[in-house]
């Protein structure tokens, strides 16, 4: 058991160690300074010339958002039709069918918004064409969209007074050529050399040693798995995601894949400090995020290694923890670590089944996704944290009786309204969605959808409620993991979570970018002794308190009905 715990500690430690230099590098890339990837320059020039982009042309916040939303809309239409007609397109060695319109709607959106909810199973629900030309493509560009939005906010913070948040196209392209593509190439090759398939061969049929005939799904998976980990996407090649022995073959790849989940989100926090030259601010933010994240990791590792009390009661030997839904080569501790970092970061890939975690571990994952700002999704995690900062600045300002300021700009009614609305949306989407689903399951169990509401849940009672709560929380956090026992491939879940995905992606991007644009337009007020310092530990603690209080107020009742009730039922 000790080597398992040690593995967890080393993995987390390595993540921080690697994220720091990566953050420094990312800041350099977007400042336009010289970096080791300057050999990408000709490729970028080619891309810009081909698509008619002038990378030096600045954009104000409205132009920036317009460009972002336009290209995102185009991607959606492209993905939707490709998924419906995938059976008629090439690269389909297993002869998989096209997706139904409601499933294609959900799938297209969920990859577009960096969520990867996956109401299908990779082995049968997609073809190699859509795995690569829809899924892998969107995994790159949706992550790059998140980074671009964040860099826009960085630009708003950097200058004392500016209209220019940068060129969306240029930032999008460079996020791919300088960050995501090089990292994915290295990682994809590491995976390929550790046993993940990378060739285009279709399913294999074999006779096992015992004499059973089975098939083995394969495909060009290694590269896709790299970007799904690095871009906080999370949607796996195979149905079982990184629990699948071909998607994550051994403990070494598990360390690499775990690090890849939080590497970029952590690095972007450091990048903030280097980019706007306020390192202390970045360290304070990183400290708050790490404090909560490590606390959650500690709790989940404890609960999972301790095992399921209901199994203990049977009098058998539960020495290596609760192993239902987990793989022997990772063990319970590494699976607990993964479960927390994947919900912290809006990645949503899994290396064990969350539905089978012990009750409080499942509850912590829910809470983690409700906060959705502990490192968070690439780019968007820090944007969510930015919302908490604005609220914290406002409340602190009220407490000391001063006009709230952030980075030399007055935070006024308009900005606070935007921040509050963004936050309230989260609480609304999660709870309204779950309420609606629970109502359907309880009062209309026999509706003739492809799966009757009475058959949605894989587990009865409190845990069944958690399955529905988890699905909407995951959709709202653009996370993509699930309590996968839920039968979610039917019109209710495909459509409702589809809309939650759209709203919960774009409004939390539009809000912060707009706030950053509005603030950067205001008169700069130099710091004075009376200024509330946002890079102090005190303010960090204040933000932490805001995060805890706001989330507790919004979500405690829901958590009490699900995981907490389940926990007390087996005490």
């Amino acid at each position: 058991m000790n080597t398992e715990l040690f593995g967890v500690i080393i993995t987390f430690f390595l993540s921080v160690l690697l994220a720091f230099p990566l953050g420094k590098y990312i800041a350099k890339v977007f400042k336009g300074e010289r970096t080791i990837t300057d050999f990408m320059n000709p490729l970028e020039r080619l891309i810009f010339r081909f698509s008619g982009v002038d990378p030096a042309e600045g954009m104000n916040w409205k132009q920036f958002l317009k460009a972002m939303l336009s290209i995102n809309m185009l991607w959606f239409v492209y993905a939707f039709f490709a998924l419906i007609f995938q059976n008629k397109l090439p690269l389909n060695p297993d002869g998989n069918p096209g997706q139904t319109p409601d499933l294609a709607f959900n799938t297209a959106i969920s990859f577009l918004v960096n969520c990867n909810l996956q109401h299908y199973s990779g082995e049968t629900g997609l073809t190699y064409f859509t795995q690569l030309f829809v899924v892998t493509f969107l995994q790159f560009v949706s992550a790059a969209t998140g980074i671009a939005a964040l860099v826009a906010v960085f630009n708003g913070l950097k200058d004392k007074n500016t209209d220019n948040l940068g060129n969306f196209w240029a930032i999008l392209v460079r996020s791919i050529t300088r960050i995501l593509l090089p990292l994915s190439l290295v990682m994809g090759i590491i995976l390929a050399f550790n046993g993940t398939p990378s060739g285009f061969d279709g399913k294999d049929t074999i006779t096992t040693l015992q004499g059973d005939t089975v098939q083995v799904s394969r495909g060009p998976a290694a590269g896709m798995i790299a970007i799904k980990q690095l871009g906080t996407n999370g949607g796996g090649w195979f149905g079982a995601n990184s629990a699948h022995p071909l998607e994550n073959p051994n403990y070494f790849t598990n360390i690499i894949e775990t690090i890849a989940i939080i590497l970029t989100p952590m690095a972007l926090v450091f990048a903030l400090g280097f980019y706007i030259n306020r390192k202390k601010l970045a360290y304070v933010i990183f400290g708050v995020m790490t404090f909560l994240c490590v606390l959650f990791i500690g709790l989940n590792v404890y609960f999972e290694t301790k095992g399921n009390p209901a199994i203990d009661k049977m009098g058998i030997a539960q020495h290596i923890g609760s192993m239902e839904g987990k793989e022997i080569r990772f063990g319970s501790a590494a699976t607990a670590l993964w479960s927390v970092v994947t919900t912290s970061s809006s990645n949503g890939s899994v290396n064990g089944m969350h539905d089978s975690l012990t009750p409080l571990s499942g509850g912590i994952l829910l809470l983690d996704m409700m906060i959705n700002a502990l490192y968070g999704g690439v780019g968007v995690g820090l944007l969510n944290y930015y919302i908490f900062i604005i609220i914290a600045v406002f409340i602190s300002g009220l407490m000391v009786g001063r006009t709230p300021e952030f980075m030399g700009h007055k935070v006024e009614a308009r900005e606070v309204k935007i921040a509050t609305l963004v936050w309230l949306l989260t609480a609304f989407l999660v709870k309204a969605g779950t309420a609606m689903a629970a109502y359907m399951a309880a009062h209309h169990p026999d509706l003739a959808w492809s799966v009757n509401p009475s058959a949605w849940l894989n587990n009865p009672s409190y845990h069944g409620f958690s399955e529905m709560l988890y699905e909407f929380t995951s959709a709202n956090a653009n996370n993509g993991s699930g309590f996968e026992g839920l039968s979610d491939n039917n019109i209710f879940w495909n459509v409702t979570t589809g809309f939650v995905l759209i709203l919960a992606r774009y409004i939390p991007i539009i809000g912060p970018v707009a706030i950053a644009g509005l603030l950067a337009n205001k008169k700069f007020i130099p710091e004075s002794p009376g200024t509330l310092r946002t890079d102090s530990i005190t303010f960090g603690a204040m933000t932490l308190a805001i995060i805890v209080v706001v989330n507790a107020l919004s979500f405690f009742p829901a958590l009490a009905l699900g995981p907490l009730a389940e926990y007390f039922s087996i005490k």
Binding site: L172, S198, T208, V214, Y251, G315, A317
Partner: protein
Amino acid sequence: MKIFLVSIKLTLILIIICAGLFPLTVALVGKLAPGRGKGEIITVKGKVVGYANVGQKFTADKYFWSRPSAVDYNAAGSAGSNKGPTNPRYLETVEDRIDSFLVHNPGIKRGEVPAELVTASGSGLDPDISPASAYVQVKRVAAVRGLSEAKLKSLVDAHVEKPLLGILGPSKVNVLKLNVALEELR
């Protein structure tokens, strides 16, 4: 309008790079990897018996068993049971598996049955069992095959894979490799 034109062109070229060139590069380099990018296979006397990393169903008494699987070890798909920890029907299933294990393994006490051997894996394709799960089956396999327990124990010893670098992660036993070696013992 200009935005849409830029969007379309940029999308085209990014698709070529991210969905075309990138996976092709990984596929080409992957040709050099063990298994040549198709997955590593295990052969016995020239006959393919399985993939090293993909678990197989072993239910006969003469083999070391693998863990329960929600997809019956057919790697055409993959899934966990997704049963919650307090689900009464799930707990009954586990009870049944314990009973069945005890029937097939006379002389083993209830307290010796490893929980991981009666609970399903995340992928349904777990290629490994814990060392404890292998040792607890030695008595049965030895009896069925008419081999000495000491000999089988040392076979298992030889197949226990230590943690990464000796310090990171759990120890494990690859069931297929163990059973292939077991067949060769004769």
